[in-house]
Symmetry: D3
C-alpha cells in the first residue's frame, strides 16, 4: 500500500529549509503532498497561486511530490487525501511547543492521524520565510536561503513595490 504523507504550511515563500525537508521525507514516504494553506491569518507576500507555482517549479524533478492548496480543518483535508500522516519541521524550542499543542489537538480531532517531526538541518535552522522576506525587502542577498527561482521572484516582487 502506498504510504502518503501531508506536509502542510504557508510557504510564503518556500525556503531551502522546506526543500531539504521535502527531499528527505520522500526517501521514506511514497508520496508527499505539499499542502499550501490558502488563507492563513497572517499577511501574505505571495498569493496562493504564486506560492504553489514556485513549489511546483522547484520540486518538478521529484516525482513523489504533489503540490495542492487547502483550507478548512487540516484533519479533514488529510482524510480526504487517504493519508494519516502529517510531516512538520522543528527548528527551535518555540516551534516545539506550538507544534506539540497542534499535534495533540489534531489527534483529538482525529485519533488516526499521526504527526511526524523532522529536525531541520543545521545548515537551514535559522532560515524562516519571515526572515527571507525581511532581508529581500531590504535588498539583502537571499542567495543561500532560497532556490534561485524564488530569489528572482522576490526581486520582482520588491522592485514592483517601489
Amino acid at each position: 500500500m502506498k504510504k502518503i504523507a501531508v506536509y502542510p504550511g504557508t510557504f510564503d515563500p518556500i525556503t531551502n529549509g522546506h526543500l531539504d525537508l521535502i527531499n528527505r521525507s520522500t526517501k521514506i514516504f511514497d508520496e508527499l503532498i505539499v499542502a499550501v494553506a490558502k488563507n492563513p491569518k497572517k499577511a501574505l507576500l505571495f498569493n496562493v497561486d504564486e506560492r504553489i507555482e514556485m513549489i511546483r517549479k522547484i520540486t518538478k524533478d521529484n516525482s513523489a511530490v504533489k503540490v495542492e492548496s487547502f483550507d478548512g480543518l487540516l484533519v479533514d483535508y488529510v482524510n480526504k487525501k487517504c493519508s494519516s500522516v502529517l510531516i512538520r519541521g522543528l527548528r527551535a524550542v518555540s516551534d516545539f511547543e506550538y507544534e506539540l499543542s497542534m499535534a495533540l489537538m489534531n489527534r483529538k480531532l482525529d485519533s488516526e492521524i499521526e504527526t511526524f517531526f523532522m529536525m531541520t538541518s543545521e545548515l537551514y535552522s535559522y532560515i524562516s520565510s519571515g526572515v527571507v522576506r525581511e532581508i529581500a525587502s531590504l535588498n539583502g542577498s537571499v542567495k543561500c536561503l532560497v532556490p534561485e527561482y524564488v530569489e528572482q521572484k522576490l526581486k520582482e516582487k520588491f522592485s514592483k513595490e517601489t
Copy 2:
C-alpha cells in the same frame, strides 16, 4: 519495499508511553525494531535480557514489532538492519534539545539516516522509566503507568531487594 524503522532506547522498564508510541508507529511502518541498548552508561534496574523479555511479552500481539539488543554506534546498527529510519519520542523541551543534537550527529555520521520524532500522548507525558522506578521503589502504585506484567516484575524486583 518493506519500510523498516528502528526505535532505540534503554526501556528500564518499558512504560505505557513507550507502548503507545510502538503501537502508533506500526500503523505507519511495516516493521518496527525495538532496539534495547545493552550497556548504557547509567545504572540499570533490569538487565538486558529482562528488559527484552518484558517488551516481547507486552508486544507479542503486534506482528510488526521485533525486539533486539544492540551495542556500538547506533547508525551502524541501523544500517545492518537495512533500515534508514530512527523513531524517537518527544515529551518536553529538555528532551527536544538532547534529541536534536543526537539527530544532527547521527545524520553527520550517516547522511542517509533520518530521525522521525513523535509526540508522546498527553496521557503519558509525565511518565518516564526513572519516575516509574522511583515510585515502585517507595511502594507506590504504578498501575496506570506501566503494563500489568511490568508492574508485577517491579514488585518482584523491589521485594527481593529488601
Copy 3:
C-alpha cells in the same frame, strides 16, 4: 479570615482548562474572583458581557466563585477586592516566561501581592481559547474542549457571521 484569590484573564471564551483550574483552586481558597479583562489589547470574539455571562452560567453551582470585569492596573483591582493572591495557570514553557515577568512586575508594583501558579491538567494542556476559536470558526467540533453552553454560543456566533 476569609482567603480571597483573584483569577484574572480574558476568557474569550472560557474553556474546560479554565474551569478545571477554577474548581481546583476553590478547594484551597474560600472565595475565587474570576476577573474578566474588559478591553485587552487583542481582538475579541465575545464582548465582556457575553464572556461574564458564560462563566457565571457554568460556575453557578460553585458558591465560592464570583465573576466580575476589571480594567486598569491589575494590582489596584486586587487591592480593592481585599485580596493579595493572584492565581494563574501554566501550560508550557512559553507561558512560563511571560508569567514570570508579569509576576515580578506585579510584585514590584505592590510587594504584598503574591502570584500562585497552578499546572493545567494534562488533559487540558493543549486547549487555549485561541485554538477553540479557530476550530469553531472552521466548523470543527469543540465538544471536549469547552462546556456545552459555550459550545452552543460558539455555534451561534459563527453561524451569525456567515
Copy 4:
C-alpha cells in the same frame, strides 16, 4: 478550617531564596510544614538533623512554620499531615519541566493534592543550594546568598574537611 501547606525539599543547606519563599507563603497559609527529605538520592553535605536544625534556627520567629523530616512517597506524607497543598518554587525553564511532571504525577497518585508554584524573587533567582556549596567549598563568600547562621555552618564544615 486551618489551611496547611507542605513545602518539600532537600535544603542542603537552606538559602535566602528558600527563606523568602517560606515567609511569603505564610502570608497566605495558616501553617507551612517545611518537609526535609531524609535520604534523597544525591550526595549530601549536611545530614538531616543538621539541615532541620538550621531551618528551625532561621525560621524560629515565624510561628506559622513547622520543620520536619520525611521519607517515602510525598503524597502519603502530605495526607498524614491533613494537608492537600504542596508549595514549590520555580526559578527557570528547566525547573519548570521537572516540576510540571512531578505535579502531574503527584495528582495521579492522589487527585486531592494540589501543587502551587511560586516564582523565586529576582534577587534570589540564581541561588541554588548546589551553587552555595560550590562557592563555600572554594572559600568564596556566600554572605548574600544564605542567612548568617548557615554561612557559619558552611565555614565549619569546610574547615573540618581540610
Copy 5:
C-alpha cells in the same frame, strides 16, 4: 585601534535595563554606538527623534556613547561604522532563540560581524519597553523601571492622549 561596538534596538522608550547594558559594555569597548531603528515593523509610541533625544539626554555623561538612527540591513550599517561587533541583551529563553537565529543570519550576510550577548542584570530582567508602555498607559508608576527623564516623557505622552 579603537574597538567600536554597535547596540541596535528600537528603544521605545529606553529602560533601566538598556541603560545598565550600555554602561557595562562601555567598560569593555572604546566606543558604543546605540543604533535606533528608524521604522521597525511594530507600532511605536515615540518617533525616532524622540527616542534618540531621550537616549542622548540620559547617556550624556558617558563619553563613549554615540546615538544614531539607522535603517536598511543592520550588517551594512555596522560596516559603514567601521565596526564588526554587535551587542545584544538576553533576558529569557524566548529572547535567546530569536537572537540566536538573528546572529546566525547576520554572520551569514557578513562573516566578519560578531554578535556578543550580555545577560540583563537580575534587577532589570522583567523590564521591557512594552511592559513600561503598558504600565504607563494605565497610570501605574514606572519610577524604578526607566530613568526619571523618560518617566516624565511617558507622562506627557499619555496625558496628551487623553
Copy 6:
C-alpha cells in the same frame, strides 16, 4: 590598553566548536586566555597536562591565545590575570539557563567582571566534548568534529584502554 578576555572550560578534549570560538574572539580581544579547569567535578578522559598540550598545539599560530590551567574561584583567577571579561559559548536553551545563573553569580562575587556570550556556529552546534568522547569510544569517526591532532590522541587513548 590591552583588552584581555578569559575563556574558561574543561576542554576534555577541545573540539572544532571551541576552536571556532577562540578564533572569532581573538578578532575582538587583544589577548585570549584559554583557562583549563584543573579538577572539575566530572570524570575526565584527559588529564590537565594533556588537555593544555592539545590546545597549545592547535592554537600555536594564533599569537593572541594563551593557554593556562586554573583552580579555585573563577573570579579570583580573572582578577589575577588583570582581565574583567569572561567569554562563554552558547549552543542551546539548556546551556543558556546554566550560563545565565553562572554569569549572575560571578557578577555578584565581583561586580567588575562581565560575561560575554557568543553563539556557536551552526556547523558546530551539536558538538560537545561528551559526544566526541562517546563516538570515539565506540570507534566512530570524529574527523569533522575535532582537529586532526585531537582525533589522533583520542585513538591512542581508546586503543590503550582496550
